[in-house]
């Protein structure tokens, strides 16, 4: 007997559990993750990150969301993680949820290694050691092992490494890609901070010169583990982008209803109204795309690779568009350091590059849905 839901496909709504998770997180972030504290990070006054991450990871238990229950985690799915990403985006929260609790955890989830206990409990924080701009379909390992089993190589622009105590390093071997754990403070590991466009997800350049490591995923499975981690990262980044865009829209609406020029609220001028209406359509569309990516990732749906690229191709543009409109329609105040709009602009623009640009994902989709590119450049010259 066919259940009614099949007539409309994958469930794209929020569950009550997700709504309640969102509310708890929002309550905490409203108090703890204020714009002024986030802005201070750009001046290197970064005491926000460690304490905030402790509260989220331990007190709210978010670090263990994707850790299997048998390793002490919540055993939740990408759906719940996506709701967390939305809220973190809404507050441009500078925490390691995406890098440690989503990407690194996904890379390790199949191992049942004890590191998962620490990750799930929020006692350890990990970072997959790949450049932030890398997509699942563009991944190549940059680190190699010497004859004595020590690691060598450089990986630039790694997100989350500055807040991690353990690095999950993809290592080239003859038989494929292995995953190794490396202690951030270990001998032969250099982590250099990078002044980043988005200082709320600051990057680091990492160099291995004969570092010790522990093998956790063998050469038969490492490549797939990294690609899955990056694909889930792309899928859930869409929810962060949705949160960024939603904040921009909400803030614009409330600002422009209050702001008066020429004797009228600016939000009542038709040209502004139409732009906000268009933005609303984009944000609601981004929500459908992000929910679909999360739901298919949660269910291991065969369409999940399409869904992840679809969501990145769409949501990354929406977040940038929303942040740009947010600065523009605030006028001068949106350009100031004190007003938080720029935090969202910088996050949105950096997110546009993260896990592959929209253009790269469109190209990938063409391969996945049999819409092939021109076979030759300059073939048609009419």
């Amino acid at each position: 007997m066919t259940p009614p839901s099949t007539s409309t496909g994958v469930n794209l709504l929020y569950s009550e559990v997700e709504d309640s998770l969102r509310q708890n997180l929002r309550d905490l972030l409203t108090v703890r993750c204020t714009p002024a504290r986030v802005i201070a990070m750009y001046d290197g006054e970064g005491d926000l990150q460690p304490s905030l991450w402790r509260e989220l990871s331990v007190d709210l238990g978010l670090a263990g969301l994707l850790v299997p229950e048998e390793r002490g985690g919540a055993g939740a799915s990408a759906r719940e993680a996506a709701v967390v990403m939305e809220e973190l985006g809404r507050f441009v929260a500078p925490v390691s949820f995406l890098t440690s609790a989503v990407v690194a955890t996904t890379a390790l989830r199949g191992t049942n290694h004890e590191i998962l206990d620490g990750l799930g409990a929020g006692q350890r924080t990990a970072a997959l050691t790949v450049p932030l701009h890398l997509s699942a379909f563009g991944f190549r390992a940059a680190v190699r092992m010497d004859g004595e089993g020590r690691l060598h190589g450089a990986v630039t622009s790694v997100a989350g490494a500055l807040d991690a105590d353990v690095l999950v390093v993809p290592v080239r071997s003859g038989a494929g890609v292995e995953l190794h754990l490396v202690d951030v403070d270990g001998v032969g590991v250099t982590v250099e901070t990078v002044t980043s466009l988005d200082m709320t997800r600051q990057l680091a350049d990492i160099v291995f010169t004969g570092a010790d490591s522990t093998l956790v995923v063998g050469a038969d499975a490492g490549d797939a583990a990294v690609r899955e981690a990056l694909e889930v990262g792309a899928a859930l980044l869409a929810s962060e982008q949705l949160g960024v865009a939603q904040w921009c829209l909400d803030r614009l609406v409330s600002y422009l209803v209050d702001r008066k020029q020429f004797g009228r609220p600016v939000g009542g001028l038709q040209a502004i109204k139409h732009r906000l209406a268009d933005l609303y359509v984009l944000v609601e569309s981004a929500r459908a795309a992000a929910r679909y990516a999360a739901a298919t990732a949660a269910d291991g749906d065969p369409d999940r690779e399409v869904a992840a690229s679809l969501a990145q191709a769409f949501c990354s543009e929406v977040a940038v568009k929303a942040a740009e409109e947010c600065v523009q329609l605030h006028g001068g105040i949106g350009m100031t350091w004190e007003y938080p709009a720029h935090l969202y602009l910088k996050r949105a623009k950096a997110d546009q590059i993260a896990f592959g640009t929209a253009g790269a994902h469109r190209q990938r989709l063409g391969e996945l849905v049999a819409l092939n590119p021109a076979t030759q450049i300059g073939l048609r010259h009419d």
Binding site: M1, T2, P3, P4, S5, S7, T8, G9, V10, N11, L12, L13, V253, L256, V257, R264, P265, G267, G268, Q270, I272, K273, H274, L276, A277, D278, Y280, V281, E284, S285, A286, R287, A288, A289, R291, Y292, L310, A313, F314, G359, R362, Q363, L365, G366, V369, A370, L371, N372, P373, A374, T375, I377, L379, R380, D382
Partner: protein
Amino acid sequence: MTEDVLDGDVLTADETALAKLSRRVERLLDAHDPATTDRLDFLRARFDAGLAWVHFPEGLGGRDLPRDFQPFVDDLLEAAGAPDNDPRRNGIGLGMAAPTILAFGTEEQKRRFLKPLWTGEEVWCQLFSEPGAGSDLAAVATRAVRDGDTWVVNGQKVWTSSAHTARFAILLARTDPDVPKHAGLSYFLCDMTDPGVDVRPLRQLTGEAEFNEVFLSEVRIPDSYRLGDEGAGWQVANATLMNERVAIGGQAAPRESGMVGVVAETWRNRPELRTPELHDRLMTLWVEAEVARLTGQRLSQKVIHGQPGPEGSAMKLSFARLAQQLSGLEIELLGEDGLRYSSWTMVRPDIVEFTGRDAGYRYLRAKGNSIEGGTSEILRNIVAERVLGLPSEPRTDKHLAWKDLPR
């Protein structure tokens, strides 16, 4: 969740309802073998069995069930070779007149009109727009003057599809010019066979006359054909339009339905036309179309047990934009073939396929998608005001009597 027991198993309420529906379909098929029953007899019997539109009330073709149970019934009947009611011939009747009659009609009106509407015996059209009242629908000037128990109607309507095949129309007319314009309208059901009704084809840029102009001269409508209260026509018409926008923008459909599917097929079949530039533009629109499809799916999941809200306006905006951009891209992709057109001969089609005929037709016809059923400009106003809560425009026409407004 309530539970039920069927054949010994404990079932959810949904499963119980489906099982009951399934049996009811079997009984209908047993009593009226599609292979031997007259088409219309079968459709009437299906209506009487409450299997026409299951979300309608019992006795009016439905069973008071959620709307999303309908595809289950349709699939069973289709599998058994039963005829359908050819819904495309009566899109306005099914999508707009029926839900409005259900919501605002008297018991007599529902009994009189819904059954032949559903079976397709009586096709419906819509007499709303006028040359002077397009986006500003509340400005309709067609007058209805009471004469005892009937109304005498005079005026001109435009953009009426199916007027030449319709038996009835939903009609918006001004019954009181002495009050502000939104307050002086009433909503009627109009018999298109009245001798005062003159239907003339209205040719459009595709060369076809898919629509009509309708001239109303001393048309007499009984007061029993008024839908809703006198003066409440604006509220009733708005309910109709919300249904229209959901019908246009919010349907669940598989990937690559509609315009995007047509262009994707052209791309796949004509590798010699491909360029890198066109590929990226195609993929951009493919992404947007697929996201719009998911957005429509999400919307229908939200409203599945409720009424259509202003979110349908957002969907229609996306639908129109994508249809236009995709059909425009297709002509560029086709290049030389895009310079050709099938035929400019004036015809009056019974059914309109937005994706039918050739690329030139699709391109031209799609221009109407952002005008018909509410222009994209009006829909943006609706989204801005009703969804986002932004202030409405300063207006001078809301409080003056209609007759005193500047024209």
